[in-house]
Structures are given as C-alpha cells and as structure tokens.
Symmetry: C2
Subunit: 472 residues, 2 copies
C-alpha cells in the first residue's frame, strides 16, 4: 500500500538499443476520481524504465502510460493509497510555510553543498550529524562542486563520463541518481527538506555552461526522478548572478521548465550572489536570499509578497574568506534579526578550519561550532509561537518585533545590551513576560503577571529577547 | 602682542539705554596691507561693547569701527600679530581636514551635548577627562538640553529669563556667553575643536521654535562672539529633521547667515536624525552623519564630495534606549569601519548607567567605558598613516581598505576572525607587515620583509587589522 504523499513507482521493461534517454518518450496519467495527473517517466538503464508518482489523496488511483516505444505504451495499473501518517509536503503559506495538512513548517536551514558527492563514510557522518541537529532543511547541489577546499573528484556524475574523458550530455548516469535518491530518502526519514540546487557556478566540468537543449533534458530528467520525493525543493541555482555566461532569461527558462514538469508544485526559488533575483515573478514561491543585512526581511516581504528565507549570511568559521569566518554569535544575531524582521533562519553553515579540509559547508561530516545548539533554541522559540498569526510590527524606531494580535509578542535586542526595557501592554489584560537569552539559551519568566506599562530588568548583555504571552 | 589666529578684542564704551542688543549696530574693518576684513561687534552688557578678531597673518593690523551710535563710530586702533606657535584653525581638505599650516587634523570626536550647562564642578571634571583622553573634537550645544536623564535647569541661558518667567528674545545674557567662552578657551588649550550645535530639538524652553528674526539675531550674536575662537565649528543643528516646525529651507537659511557673518569660514555642517541633509550643497564644508551602517562612508564621499565625519553611531552604554546601549567593541567596530571606508571617527560617547544619571553623552563628567583607550589607539594608527595621500580602495568584494600608492596599506577585518589572510604586494619591493589587534591595542610586526603574495597568520579573533608599509 502506498501512503498519501508517498512514492509510487512503476518499473517497466523497454528498449535498450540506441539512446533510450533521447529516443524514448514515456509518460503516464494517474487518475483518481475526476482527476488526471500527467507525469513524465524516465529511463533508468539496463532496459528499465520507471514512472514515479506522489499521490496527494487517499483511495484508489489508476495509471496508464503513453510512449513512442510500443512495449511501453498503454501499460496500466491500479494501486491503493492510505491516508498520510505525516504532515505531507511543504508549501508556501503567505509569508511562511505550511505542510499540506496545514501544520506550520519552520525552515531552519543549513548548507552542505557537495555532501552527496563525498565518499559513503562522510555521507554517513553527515546523516548522523543531521539526525542529531536542529535542521529542517538542507541546501545541496545536484552537480558536483569545484571550489576552494573542495577539489576531490566525485565517484559519479549526472552524466556518464569523467573530467578526463569528457561527458556524454545525451545520457544520464542512473547509478549517480540512485545514490542521490538514497540520500534524499535518508533526509526524508529525518524530516529534512532537500533544497536542491539545480545549477551553480563552482565548476570545472563544464556543467555551468551546458547548451540549452542539454539543460532542458537535464531538468526534465531530474524532475521526473525527484519530484515524487515529498521533501524536495527546487533552487534553480546558487549565486545565479555569478554564472557568467547565463542571462536572467536563462533562469526564467529553468523556472518555466521545472514548473511545467513538476505536477506537485514543489517550492521553487533561486539563490543570489550579489544581485537578488526578482522574486516577485509569478513562478517563484519564496525568496532564497543571500545577504548579511538581514534586518531588511520586512522590505523584501513587501517587495516580493512571499516568504523570505535567509539562506546565507556568512558562515560560522575562521577561514581567510570573508564569507566564512564569522562567530557563532554573529551568525545567530543575523538569523534572529532575520526572524524578527519577518524572514526565516535558513542560513546556517560551518567553515571552521580543520586539517582534513572537511568543512560542513561543502562536504558535510561533523559540526563543531557554537551555533547549532542556538539554532535548536531558536527553532524551539519559533515552534512555541503562534506562527499562523504572527505579524511583523515596524515601529517608528527600529528594530521590528513580532506580534500576534494582543496575545503574543517577541522582541529581540541583538547588539543592544540594556539594563532594562519598558514595554507597553494592553490595559485590562494580564501578561506573562519571558526574558530570553538567545546565546545562553535560557527562558526566564518574570514573576507575576503584568499589564499596562511594564519595566523589565535585563542583564545588560547582548543577544537578549523578550517574549510576552497573554495569561489564560 | 596678539598671536596669529589668536583673538584680538577691542572693548568700547557705548550706550546702555533702550535695548542696545537691537538698537545699536556695531562693526569694524580690520586692515592688513591690501586686505580689509569686516566683522560684527556685539553688546556685552553694562554699557560695554566688543569687537573681536582672529588675524590670519602676522604683522601690523589696524581697525576702524562703524556704528549708528556716535560714541562707537570711527574708533580706531593698531596691533601687532606674531607668527603662530601652533597649527592654526582646521579646514576641510578634500576628504579630510588640515590645520591652516597644512598639518593634517584627525577628527577623533566625542559628544557631551549639555556639558557647559552643568555646574562648575561637573564642568571641571569634564575638562579633566578631556585632558586625559584621546579626543580632538567635542560636539556640544549652545542651547540647554531637555531629554531623558537631562532635566536639570541650567544656571543661565542665551536669553535673559527663565522657564517660569519666560525669556526676553530681544536681548542676550552676557553672563551665559562669558561662561560658555571660558569653556571654549579651556577646550582650545587642550587642542580640542568645539563642534557647536546651534539648534536642536531637545527643548522645553521654546528654543527650537523661535521666530525667524530672533533666530537671525541669535546667529549673528553667536558668530560675533565665537568666531574669533580658533577651535569653533558650526553645526547648524543636531538631528535637524526632528525639529518638527522647521523646514529644510530654515536650515539653508541658518547656513547662509552663519556663512555671511563668519569672516574666517569655520567648518559648517548639520547633523541628521534619520534624514541626512544634502551635504553636497555648496555652503556645507563636511558631512556630519548619524548612521550605524558606517561602511557606507565611501558612498557618501562620492555623493557629497566632502569629508565624512561619523558623529553618531550609537553610544557605549547600557540604557534602555537603542541608541545608548552598545558595547565598546561594537562602537569601535563601527568607528574602524567608518575609517576604513573613508570616514572619520567622530562618534564616541558614553551612556553607561550610574545612579547620578550623569552620563558623559549629555552632562560630561567622567568616562568609565572601554572605548576611549581604543579610540586613542585608533588615533595613533591614523596619525602614523600618510593621511594626505590616503585613498579608499573599493575592491570587487568588500570590505574597503585604505592605501597610499604602493607604500602603505591598511586593512580592517571587523567581525571576520580569519586564521590567516593572503595579500598581494607589488613584486620587486619589500614590505613590512604589521598585525594589529584593534581591541587589545597591539601592533605586532611580522618578522622579515615581504613581497608578492604573502600569507599572514592571524589569531582567529574579531577586530583585527593589517598594515603594510614599504621598507625604506
């Protein structure tokens, strides 16, 4: 029995001569009551074809293939779908996110660009680290990564071939995809969304500069294989504006192809280097932003009208490079600042020096920094908030704070280190006040309840927050 | 004998009946060779008038008065001026400042808005603190200040009167001015420039909302009295945009009056709250900026074409107010960031809580914070730099650095905490490299000389800088 939002797969024998990747067209229609959903199938090597499907409704589904290969055409089947025992896939929900069943999803993200392109032993450690950590999302590349500290050759690639022999862009390597999919499934088991980076400029293999027809075939193949994974997000590129030979129209085109091919409308965005893409465009579901001035999330909200995820704001580390050497404190300050101005904390990664040159940011492996524990704490605070009703309040004087009607408020003081703060509470109601140390990870409730003007003592340290909750 | 750029004063008996402040016009022309300089005189009470003059050239000067009062008209005299034993007044010099003799002036500023309006005992401590400190400039108000933590009534005012009885705007109080001038002289002895704030919005006496004719008389009187103090700068207002009943045209008008009245062209600017004045206007000599994003000084340089002084970027303190509770480290990071992007560090002040509510920022007194020692260190680094040839280099990737040809360079790493940095030095020349800890205040010269690509070890801490000097 297939679970709702689980993955159905029909495996079909078919032609293996010529180039099945380009010669053979295969699709299937999945039918449930009045609904017909068309998905593309794909060639998986050795004369095997597959059609995958993620049913969004319980009950009976039937399917029927169409193909230009006679033996693949008109194949049919029926399967039963059981109601989900989980929340379903994540979708954008105004300025935030929610699972399909309406439960709020809090994007607490990390980045390990090339973790799937590392040896099994490193991948296993990555999964172990993720299973112990606070993250609900990871940014990761489909193509391998060529960049400082990351020059090892992966075992397999999207295309068959190698750097020495060249790559056959007319075919794909099913072994690579099987490996990649196994890792997607391990993330799914951990409840972690896979923010898949489809293109990027860190390249010595020519993958950032493919012809348009190859790019299109690649995108169709990737979506045909991955879209039925409930936890997949599509990021058209990392630092799209650093791909020197591509224009903004190329990225529009990637969005169009992915949107056409993905029947489930997984989340779609594109991540900037210096120039933020126009996330107001209709095919973008949320903004994936690289910026260090994360207090501007409320502006971007207004500009784009969509959820803002800060996916990079420099990493906890001590490398020479300016993007990779801030403290955990500063990373957390930027993430809290993002949250308090209406964004989401997707920006963790780690570049703390070790002699193996195995940095989480690129290869995965182990985390040794100070920020993950504080990210877990931030996640807890967010999960305790009435996320579906949370608004950004922009007072005449910055900073912003978050509020839900007259019954919840969250202030964050960042680099301020006041000995006290006055807050104005609605008269005629009683409130609990929590003093939160976001670095020491403590929540201290001020004794009693409060109303009207309240003066709250603070410890005169940085990184404090204050939470107000209406008493029942 | 009067010293060059010293202060000559002729005191003249004249009419004391009626209202000499409004009835009597007095001016004098000071003549040296072919030069004729006209200055306005002023009534000093008790039938005494004065004409003050700051001669800019050694040698013989003669003077002659004009007045609508017969006994003050046609008075003459002669005096001899000796060459200056000091550098003279400060003027803008492209993006920096220089004394009249060409020696560079480094604006290292602090703010104690209402220190002159405090009792003698507090003023004496202020002067003692300044004499021990690193500051070369202080921002201070002419009118008293009404603001949180600063509600004590001063002993005297610009105008005769009191809050209870009201003020006579048609007269001035010579006792107040004598007191103020004595403090200007004490600053002068310490080599400290007095950045005089002529208007401001922190007011319970109505001084932020005077009629235009009173404002004009006030400005003419102030300039007549103070312009001959070599160390005076004119700041039209503090947080000009918070003076709700004044328009930008009012501030243009203040500039015009001050420029007309001041024969020495002392430095002129105006300090913003949220909205920066258009410092590109021709009557502005330098930009007096309040901003926390001090890495933008290079933009403002380009925009205004003048020196940029960061005069406020939040204070070292622990008050409830967001402008008054950052750490000394953060204040210094903002000041270093200003310097490295082409601005000047005028932004010190202190709001560390004490039960007396005597905060340096407002009342002066004592300094107890961590930043003054680091400001002294920054001043030393600046004074060791080839200031007259220093350019801001804006690389493709921030941050900026400072450079003077191929023989000097200054990098600042701020919140970065790299374990090393690579720098590219011109081949064929040898360089000394200094690793600077701007917080611990150490300069450590890397052994040997360096050329070409050099990799420099750093301690993996924040607030580091690197200085490169060409070996002789």
């Amino acid at each position: 029995m297939i679970e709702q939002y689980g993955r159905f797969e029909a495996r079909l024998g078919g032609p293996s001569g010529g180039n099945p990747f380009t010669d053979v067209e295969l699709a299937a229609v999945f039918i449930h009551g009045h609904r017909h959903v068309r998905v593309r199938g794909f060639y998986d090597g050795r004369g095997e074809y597959a059609v995958r499907f993620m049913p969004d409704s319980p009950g009976e589904w039937t399917w029927r293939t169409t193909s230009n290969a006679k033996e693949l055409d008109g194949r049919t089947g029926t399967f039963e779908v059981a109601p989900a025992a989980h929340h379903g896939p994540v979708q954008a929900n105004r300025f935030g996110f929610a699972y399909a069943d309406g439960a709020p999803y809090v994007p607490v993200g990390t980045t390990a660009y090339a973790w799937v392109h590392q040896p099994q032993e490193v991948r296993d450690r990555t999964i172990a680290t993720l299973s112990a950590g606070p993250f609900t999302k990871i940014r990761m590349c489909v193509f391998p990564k060529h960049y400082t500290y990351n020059t090892n050759e992966p075992e397999s690639f999207v295309f068959p071939g190698s750097l020495d022999r060249g790559f056959d862009h007319s075919r794909f390597d099913p072994a690579f995809f099987a490996l990649f999919e196994a890792e997607l499934d391990r993330l799914l088991e951990l409840g972690i969304e896979a923010d898949l980076i489809l293109f990027h400029p860190y390249d010595r293999w020519g993958f950032q500069d493919l012809p348009a027809d190859v790019e299109e075939r690649y995108l169709r193949y990737v979506v045909a294989r991955f879209a039925s994974f409930r936890n997949v997000w599509w990021s058209m590129a990392n630092e799209w504006d650093f791909m020197a030979k591509k224009t903004v129209q190329d990225f529009h085109r990637y969005f169009r192809i992915v949107q056409e091919e993905d029947p489930y409308a997984h989340l779609r965005s594109v991540h900037n280097g210096l120039l933020i893409y126009d996330h107001a465009l209709p095919w973008v579901t949320h903004a994936s932003v690289q910026r260090s001035d994360t207090d501007r999330c409320h502006e971007w909200r207004t500009q784009y009208g969509k959820p803002i995820v800060i996916d990079e704001c420099c990493y906890e580390g001590n490398l020479a490079e300016g993007w990779g050497n801030i403290t955990g404190q500063e990373l957390m300050r930027r993430q809290w600042t993002a949250v308090i101005s209406g964004g989401w904390p997707g920006a963790h990664s780690e570049t703390l020096y070790n002699d193996r040159h195995e940095f989480w940011w690129s290869k995965g492996g182990d985390l040794t920094g100070e920020s993950p524990a504080r990210i877990a704490f931030l996640r807890r605070i967010l999960e305790e908030a009435p996320l579906d009703r949370l608004e950004v309040v922009r007072p005449k004087w910055p900073p912003c704070h978050l509020a839900a009607g007259d019954y919840y408020r969250l202030h964050y003081y960042g680099l301020e280190r006041p000995l006290w703060k006055q807050i104005e509470l609605p008269a005629g109601a009683a409130y609990h006040i929590d003093v939160i140390d976001t670095w020491k990870m403590t929540v201290t409730t001020v004794p009693g309840t409060h109303t009207g003007r309240a003066q709250v003592e603070l410890p005169g340290r940085e990184f404090m927050a204050m939470r107000v909750r209406k008493a029942e």
